[in-house]
Structures are given as structure tokens and as C-alpha cells.
Amino acid sequence: MNPKDVLLTFPELLLWFPLISGLIAFVLKKGDHAKKWALTSSFITVGIVAASLFFTDQKYFNFNNVSYFWMPSLGSSFALMYDGMGRMLCLLTAVSFPLVFLSTYTNDYKKPHSFYGLMLLTQSGLMGVFCAMDALVFYFFWELALIPVYFLSSIWGGEKRIQATFKFFVYTFAGSLLLLIGIIYVYLHTPEGTFSLRAFMEAKLPPGKEKVAFWLFFIAFAIKMPVFPFHTWQPDAYEQSPTGVTMILSGIMVKMGVFALIRWLVPVFPYATQMFSNIVVVLAVTGMIYASCIAWMQDDLKRLVAYSSIAHIGLMCAAVFARAESGVEGVMIQMFNHGINIIGLWIVVNAVEKYWGTRKISELGGLANTSPTLTIFLVIIALANIALPLTNAFVGEFLMFNGLFAYGKWTTAIALISIILAAVYTLNMIQKVFYGPVRAHYPLAGVTRLDKGAVVALSIIVIIIFVLGVYPKPLIELTMSTVGAFMNKVHGL
């Protein structure tokens, strides 16, 4: 056992608090107790993360790192670290849940206690993923974050939820299996026979085996992000999951994949990364253009957002493999901002569906006449999503493209076409859904007021969009050290 000066470190607190409050939620079966409990709990989590941001200095090492033996016989210890990237993603995880709970506050779920309990378990799992410093712990939380989502989607999802969830399950489970094999494979080559990240980085894999291990890890993460052509589970899952779950899936869970590239793939397999980065970048950039074209063709708002997200994730993946400092920093910022923005998009889609009874672009029109507030929110968030300057996503995209440029001019030129296509599908959607004459045949026409919860959530999102768009410095500074360490590892080949 390690001597500990502090009772509970921040990463532990972030794990245990949602876990315990999630378990409590399961027994709050009366009325909307579970709902209120979950909302309160999620706000407390935000408070914990906010407090943790004041303890980033090296002298608070003991607040942020913890390690004790877990399975000594296997050489796995329960090691958690709370570094810049971890903080940023825990912040995203913490901020997302209240936004989700607030904006869906009026949604009524059957068995709300199970719904909210599972949601909080997911939050705990996500925190674990972002803090884990031991491969087995990482894998454990990777699964812990996913399993509740399977239940959430298959119980509270849309009409075709079973098929969609099954596809999602098989896909990600296959990925997880590859990951597990990969982890064991690397573990067998670690010098001390442990699962710690450091041991993984020091593991001496012969080049041939490193290649195999690289692909095992990469495919697992590529499915999660998802990167073309491993993406087809995503539109189905987003479409069929209940909106709150979709928000978590797209806002945070896809970041697990990007995060894992930066923490568990590139530093562990530097040679293979160098060798295969061309293939990955080509896949990622192809995916950007491909998904943008397909997004343009979608009639369902949820699927449009899903493909738009695939395009944006492609850029993150490409920027990681371009391995330029500014690009990786861009990925950091963008992981956060993409999460916030896409949750905003889902809130709007949810509101549209609730009041007009459809998500089909071809059946909607003229919403700006009847609900100007919703329109303003949508336009701001949609434009942030396509990275207009002074919105939060611009800084990240600018840095990522800049990093990619160092990697290849022509690659960047092709990838940059996506910003034109993004304007095409986004403006097309805005025009068809919000502009034009009012379409008369809405089943629920007339009900145009937004929920208070949704307004609050959207207002918070819009504030984040502009604050981080004008002054991204705090976010950059938060993650700079992680990027520095990453770059040292990449260039210290």
C-alpha cells in the first residue's frame, strides 16, 4: 500500500461519487426522486471537478495521483492519474451530465430510478477511463462505461432499438475483445510484467509484433470514435437511443476513442504509429469528406448530426496521427468543445421532435416563424459546430488543420474541403427546417415554448461557445502539459 497524505484523491472522488450516487438512485423508486437526485448529484460532480482545477500544481501531486495494488498476482495496480487531458475530459464529463439532465427534465421515463442509476454508473465509468494509468483498470472502466449504455439504449430507445443496440453491442464488443487481446499481448512483453502505462511504454515488442498489437488497439479505438469505415453502428445507435443517451454517446463516449489514441496507442507503439500513420490519416480524411457528403443526403436530423460528428472526429484522428504540437493541442480543445456543441445540437433536435412530432427535414419548415428562440439557439450552435471564428470550435479546428498541414499540404487541402461541405449541409438544414413559410400540417403545431430546463442548458452552452471561442487560453493551458509529454514521447523515438 502506498502511503497517502490525503484521504481521497480527486480521481477517486470522481469515480466513487457518481458510482455511489448511481447505486443510491436505483432504490429511489418514488416519483421523480431519482430524477432530482441525479440532477443534484451531477451538479456536485461539477463542483468537485471545478475545485480540482485549483489543485493542478505539481505540489498537489498527492491530490491527483493514486496507486494501490489491485491484483498483485497479475501485476496490475489500481493506478489513477489526473493530468491535464484527464482534467479536461473529466470536466467535459462532469459538465455534460447536468446539461443532459436539465434539457431532458420533462422527459418521462418508465422506471426512472433505473434510468438515472445507469446514467450515473456510466458517468463513473467514463471518469475511470480518463484517469486510468493501468491497462487493466482502463479496460475495466472502458467496459463499465459501455455496459449501462447497452441497457439504456435497449430499454428506453426508439422503435428499432433492439436491432440498433445489438449492432452497437456487437461492434463495440468486438472492439473491446481486440483491445483485451492487445492488452494481454503487450503485457506479456513488459519488462516487469505489469499493466502500468509506463510499463506498456517501455515494453519491448519486436517490430512485427508491435504492428499486430497496434492494429488490435487501433481497431478498438477506431470503432469507438468511430473512424471510417468502422462507423456504421453510430447513426443507428444515435437515432435509436433515447436523446439523453445519445448526448452522452456522442458528447463524451466518442472522446474515449480519441483520448485512447493519445494515451494508450501512439505513446505505446511509436514505431508502428510512424509506420501506419499514412494509412490512418488517409482513412480519417476519407471519412471526413465521405461523412460530410452523406450528412448532406440525410433527411433525419439525428442522422445528419451523427454523420456530421463522424466528419469532425475524422479530423481529430488525423490530427493525432499528424503528431504536430499545435494539431494535438487542437484535438484537446476540440474534444471538449465538440462535446459541448453536439449536446446543444441534440437538445435542439429533441425540442423539434417533441413539438412537431417528427425529425424529418422534409416534413419540417418555417420554424423560425413560430419559435424564434429555438432558431437563434440552433443557428448559434450549428455555426459553432461548423467552426465559425469566435465560437469555441474554431480554435480547435484551426489548430488541427494547422497541425495536419505540417504533415501534408495536399492532405490538408483535401481535408479542408470538409469545411465547405459542412457549410452546405448545415445551411441546407437550417434553411429547410427553420426558414421558408410555416408548414401547416404539424400534429402538435402551436406548442412552441421551449422547456425551462432546455433553455437553461442551451444558454449555458451558448455562453461556453462564446467564452471559449474568444478566450481559449484557459483550455489550452489546462492541457498544454499533456501535449508536451505526448510530443516528447513521439519525438523521443
Binding site: Y290, C293, I420, A423, Y435
Partner: protein, 630 residues
């Protein structure tokens, strides 16, 4: 003093926030006062800054760190110098007049839409000010995209009309194509110079050799950005459609300010362009081609705003011609005079449309001279100015560009003068058809014909005075002037002037050139007036005229070779590749697994012997794999 520069964009931003957030509660008169007042405040600060700059106080004012990653340091900083201070005056000065004009022009709108209009207009001015104030390419780009967004919002201001929102969408997307070039150029600049700050980039670039491939690449990409924003070939087709927006918007955004952003950007980067003569050649040719193409189209348009729109495209072409032949001062000079006379013409057109109850077809007008005396006189001044008749402003600025074009290539000059003659012709066709002859509208329209209120006519008068006299700041030496503008801007273009070959045309040649272009323009004017005041073109055009009326079918061409194929490819990707291909494989694998499991179930026969057999075979297989493969 220059520390106060942040106030210039701050005022319009405040106006935007007040009108935007309070649109449901603020009265119309207050909205108008706030909307115009903040621009007036900016104008006053700009004026102070201008005299400060004139006294020699220039510099970069850093507000805060924007992006700092590793060696890349991009501050949020403003550049206060001769070039930006001139643009500040144009933007806030003309902007203020147009805001005042709008208070009357938009009076029919309900109060929340009225506030929305002023909020957008303020936001536009804010973005435009960022564009010209930015001390690096990134801040410039923020303004660059910002003005594009406001243009989109204002073109589609009447969002119930699908044609209008289509025009808005088109404008934004074509601008985004330009932004693609701008961004790529920015990344290349970072790679080459390690910075986006103008000062760093220009000082490092001046040490590079002429026509360095990197410089040519960067300048061409930046120019692609300029063709989008400033409506040049091949990205000009959005501007005529942009006339869907309210007329004051066309005056401010699509004539006086935003569309000159490309010229500003190249003038700002003049040293890069001077070092890349190849690009300069491209700029000159594209500018000239656009000037001529748009002029031919303008000849056959019947919508009062469309004529002015093509005229704008054409005049912008002249400015690019000027930049391309190294006449940077001339281009900026023309930006200024054009801002005055084109804003005047658009506002005059607005006054006509207002009087005619939203009729824009000049074939249904005629004889408006009597009913709209102020509009008539000011519009006429605008027409004379744009036609290049001395001593009005357009003459001096256009002449400066044509003189420089002559020394670069006589062909440029000939084509340039041809375009100028066409300009004189179509402008006076427009003037004569609208204001002279007999009234051709309905009786009801005739009955209601009225001169516009003071809030509209006063801006017209002010702009008319400016359009008439502003040329005198740039009277060339050959006409006995001292070209004050050139002296004022000298520090900005000093680096380029050193590299350029001095091309002095002797005075006799210059008199001859001036005489020729003025005489030809005058003939065109007389011809147009005499022809169209008596017998305006009322029927649809035929044969070649039809091609011009239909804008050379460029829109149809773009639709056929770009939009439709792209849509086709996307549909193919969506319906075939995605659904049948990738997802088909995925679902196919699922089905195979399903089938396989059903077959595998047969293995579980319950006979121990069979199980053992399978175990042995499997163990053997593993052993062989271990031995030979791994």
C-alpha cells in the same frame, strides 16, 4: 491615443447586444437611435485615430492572448496605421449614413424584426472593423468570416421567402470556398514564417527572392479567398443574387464595404504580391476579365439592383486590375470613391424602390425625375462619378488604375477602357430608363409617387457631395495635384515601391489616354441617354442580348458541372456505398455469424466422444500454429 482603438469595434458590438437581446422590448425609435448612435460613436473615435495616425502615431495594440501553442503565438491585436485608419473612416462613415437611412427604409417592419435588422447590421460593422483592424491574418480571418455570416443573415433577412434564403445560402457557401483558400494560405504562412503577424510575415518575406514558389502559392491561395469575398471570377455569382437582401444592406455590405475586403487584404499583403509577379499577373487578368464580363451582363439587366450589382462586380474587377499591376494606392483610392458613389447609387435605388412600392423593374418606371427631385439629382451625380467624367471622384481613381494598367500592358488598357465605356453606357441606360421619359407604372403607383423622407434624402445628399469631391484627395501630378492620398499611404506600400520598376509615362501620353477614355465615356453617355429616354427597352432581349440577360448562363453551367455531380456523388455514397456497401458488409457478417452459430449448435450433440475429438483436433491445430507461424 491608439490605445482607444478597441472602442471602435466595441460600440457596434454593444449595439448588437442591446438590439439583439432586447429585440422584444425596445421600441422602434430607440432601436434606430441605438443602432445608428453606436456607429456614430465609432466614427468619431475613428476620426480621432485618423488624425492621430496622420500625425505619425501608428502601431500595434495587443488586447489579449488569443492562441498560444508552443512556438505559435497569435495575439488578439489591432493594427492602427494609414491603411486601416482610412478603411475605418469609410466603414463607420458610410456605415453611419446607411444606418440612418435604414431607420426610415425599414419602418414597415414590426419592432422585433426591426431590432433584428439593426442587430445584424451592427454585428456586420463590428466584424468588418475586426477585419481591417486585425494585426495578423487570424484576426483578419475572424472578421472575414464574420462579415460573411452577417451577409448571409441579412440576405436572408426575409426568411420566409425561399428564393431569398437560397441566395443567402449561396453567398455563404461561395464565400466558404474562398475561405478554404484563405485558411490554406494561413497554414502555409505559419509553416513558412512561423507567425501570422503582419509585421513578422512581411519583414521575413521581404528577404525572399522574387517569384519564390512558396510565395506564389500563398498569394494565389489568398487571392482565392479574395475572389470569394470580393465577387471575382470564378466565385462572383453570389453577389447579384445577394440583392435579395434589403437595399441598404446591398449598399453597405454588397457595395461599399464587405466586398472590398479582398482588395484590403491584398493591399495589406502588398509586399507578398509584389514579390510574386506570377500571382500579380493572375490577379490583373482575373480582375480585368471580371470587369468586362460583369459589364456586359449589366447592359441587359432590367432589375435596378441587378444592374448596380453587376456594376459593383465590374468595379471590383478594376480594383483587382489595379492591385495586379501594382497600383496599390489606385486600388485603395477606387475602394474609397466607389464606396461613396456606389453606396449613393444603391441608396438612390432604394429610394426609387420605396417610392414605387417595391417595384424593381426599370421597365415599369420612367420619368421619375419630377416626383423624386433629390433622388434624381443625387443619382445622376453617382452615375457621372462612376462613368469617370471629371472632376467627379470616379474619374481620378479609375484613371489612376488605367494609367498603371497602360504601363503594364497596352492590352490591359484597351480592355479596361472598353469596360469603362460599357460602364458609362449601362449606367446611363439605367438612369434614362428610370428617371427620364414617361412614367410606365400603374395609375395607383403614380398617384402614390413621393420623395423619400429626410432620413433617407440627407444621407443621399451627403454621399453625393462625397462622390463629387472625394476625388480631389488623389489628383495626380500630371493634373497639377499632389496626390495627398498617395503620400498618406506611402509607408504602407514603401516596401513594394522599392521593388517595382518605376514606370513613368510622359505627360503627353497621359493626357492622351485620359482624353480618350473620357471622350469615349461621354459619347457612350450621350448615346445611352438619347436612346433610352425616348425608347426604353421594354421587350425581352433576343439573340445575343438574351445570353447577356441570362448572365452568360454561368449559373446554369455551375449547376450542371459542380452542384449536380456533387449531389449525384453524395447520393451514390449514401445509397450505394454506405447502405449496401459498408453497412451491407457489416450486416452480412452479422447474418453469417447468425447462420454459423446455428450450424455450430449441431456440434453440441451430447456425445462425449465427439467433444473429445474436437478438443484433440483443436489442441493439435494450436500446436501447429504455435510451431510454424509464431
Amino acid at each position: 491615443m491608439s490605445k482607444l482603438v478597441y472602442l471602435v469595434p466595441l460600440f457596434p458590438l454593444i449595439g448588437f447586444l442591446i438590439n439583439g437581446l432586447g429585440r422584444k422590448s425596445i421600441s422602434k425609435s430607440l432601436t434606430g437611435i441605438i443602432g445608428s448612435g453606436v456607429i456614430l460613436a465609432s466614427f468619431i473615435v475613428s476620426l480621432v485615430l485618423f488624425f492621430d495616425v496622420k500625425a505619425g502615431h501608428t502601431g500595434v495594440v495587443k488586447l489579449f492572448d488569443f492562441i498560444t501553442v508552443g512556438k505559435l503565438d497569435i495575439p488578439f491585436a489591432f493594427q492602427v496605421d494609414q491603411l486601416s485608419s482610412i478603411f475605418l473612416l469609410i466603414i463607420t462613415g458610410v456605415g453611419f449614413l446607411i444606418h440612418v437611412y435604414s431607420t426610415a427604409y425599414m419602418h414597415e417592419e414590426s419592432s422585433d424584426h426591426y431590432a433584428r435588422y439593426f442587430a445584424y447590421l451592427n454585428l456586420f460593422v463590428f466584424s468588418m472593423l475586426l477585419l481591417v483592424l486585425g494585426a495578423n491574418y487570424l484576426i483578419m480571418f475572424i472578421g472575414w468570416e464574420g462579415v460573411g455570416l452577417c451577409s448571409y443573415l441579412l440576405i436572408g433577412y426575409w426568411f420566409k421567402n425561399n428564393d431569398y434564403t437560397n441566395a443567402a445560402k449561396k453567398a455563404f457557401i461561395m464565400n466558404r470556398i474562398g475561405d478554404f483558400g484563405f485558411l490554406l494560405a494561413a497554414f502555409w504562412i505559419i509553416q513558412q514564417f512561423g507567425s501570422l503577424n503582419f509585421a513578422d510575415v512581411f519583414s521575413k518575406a521581404s528577404g525572399m527572392k522574387m517569384n519564390d514558389a512558396v510565395l506564389v502559392g500563398i498569394t494565389l491561395l489568398l487571392f482565392l479567398g479574395a475572389t470569394g469575398k470580393s465577387a471575382q471570377i470564378p466565385l462572383y455569382t453570389w453577389l447579384p443574387d445577394a440583392m435579395a437582401g434589403p437595399t441598404p444592406v446591398s449598399a453597405l455590405i454588397h457595395a461599399a464595404t464587405m466586398v472590398t475586403a479582398g482588395i484590403y487584404m491584398i493591399a495589406r499583403s502588398n509586399i507578398l504580391y509584389t514579390l510574386a509577379p506570377t500571382t500579380q499577373g493572375v490577379v490583373a487578368v482575373i480582375g480585368l476579365a471580371t470587369a468586362i464580363l460583369a459589364a456586359t451582363i449589366a447592359i441587359k439587366q432590367n432589375d435596378i439592383k441587378k444592374v448596380l450589382a453587376y456594376s459593383t462586380v465590374s468595379q471590383l474587377g478594376y480594383m483587382f486590375l489595379g492591385l495586379g499591376v501594382g497600383a496599390y494606392t489606385g486600388a485603395v483610392f477606387h475602394v474609397m470613391t466607389h464606396a461613396f458613389f456606389k453606396a449613393l447609387l444603391f441608396l438612390g435605388a432604394g429610394s426609387v424602390i420605396h417610392a414605387m412600392h417595391h417595384e424593381q423593374d426599370i421597365r415599369k418606371m420612367g420619368g421619375l425625375k419630377k416626383a423624386l427631385p433629390v433622388t434624381h439629382i443625387t443619382f445622376l451625380i453617382g452615375c457621372i462619378a462612376i462613368a469617370g467624367i471629371p472632376p467627379l471622384s470616379g474619374f481620378f481613381s479609375k484613371d489612376e488604375i488605367l494609367a498603371a494598367a497602360f504601363s503594364a500592358s497596352k492590352v490591359y488598357w484597351v480592355i479596361g477602357v472598353l469596360g469603362a465605356v460599357m460602364t458609362a453606357f449601362y449606367m446611363f441606360r439605367l438612369y434614362a430608363t428610370t428617371f427620364l421619359g414617361k412614367f410606365r407604372g400603374t395609375h395607383e403607383q403614380e398617384h402614390h409617387l413621393h420623395e423619400s423622407p429626410k432620413a433617407m434624402t440627407i444621407p443621399l445628399i451627403v454621399l453625393a457631395i462625397l462622390a463629387a469631391i472625394s476625388g480631389f484627395v488623389g489628383v495626380p501630378a500630371v493634373l497639377g495635384g499632389s496626390h495627398e492620398l498617395e503620400h498618406f499611404l506611402a509607408p504602407i506600400f514603401a516596401g513594394s515601391v522599392k521593388l517595382q520598376h518605376p514606370h513613368n509615362i510622359n505627360h503627353n501620353t497621359e493626357y492622351m489616354l485620359m482624353g480618350a477614355s473620357v471622350a469615349l465615356a461621354a459619347i457612350a453617355i450621350l448615346y445611352a441617354v438619347s436612346r433610352f429616354s425616348k425608347k426604353p427597352e421594354l421587350n425581352d432581349a433576343t439573340s445575343f442580348g438574351k445570353v447577356l440577360e441570362n448572365k452568360w448562363y454561368i449559373d446554369e453551367l455551375y449547376d450542371a458541372i459542380i452542384v449536380k455531380p456533387l449531389r449525384g456523388i453524395s447520393a451514390f455514397l449514401n445509397n450505394i456505398v454506405e447502405k449496401l456497401g459498408i453497412d451491407g458488409v457489416v450486416n452480412g457478417v452479422g447474418r453469417i455469424v447468425n447462420y454459423g452459430s446455428r450450424q455450430l449448435r449441431l456440434l453440441q450433440s451430447g456425445q462425449v466422444g465427439a467433444y473429445i475429438l474436437i478438443m484433440v483436433v483443436a489442441a493439435l491445430a494450436l500446436f501447429i500454429i504455435q510451431l510454424f507461424v509464431l
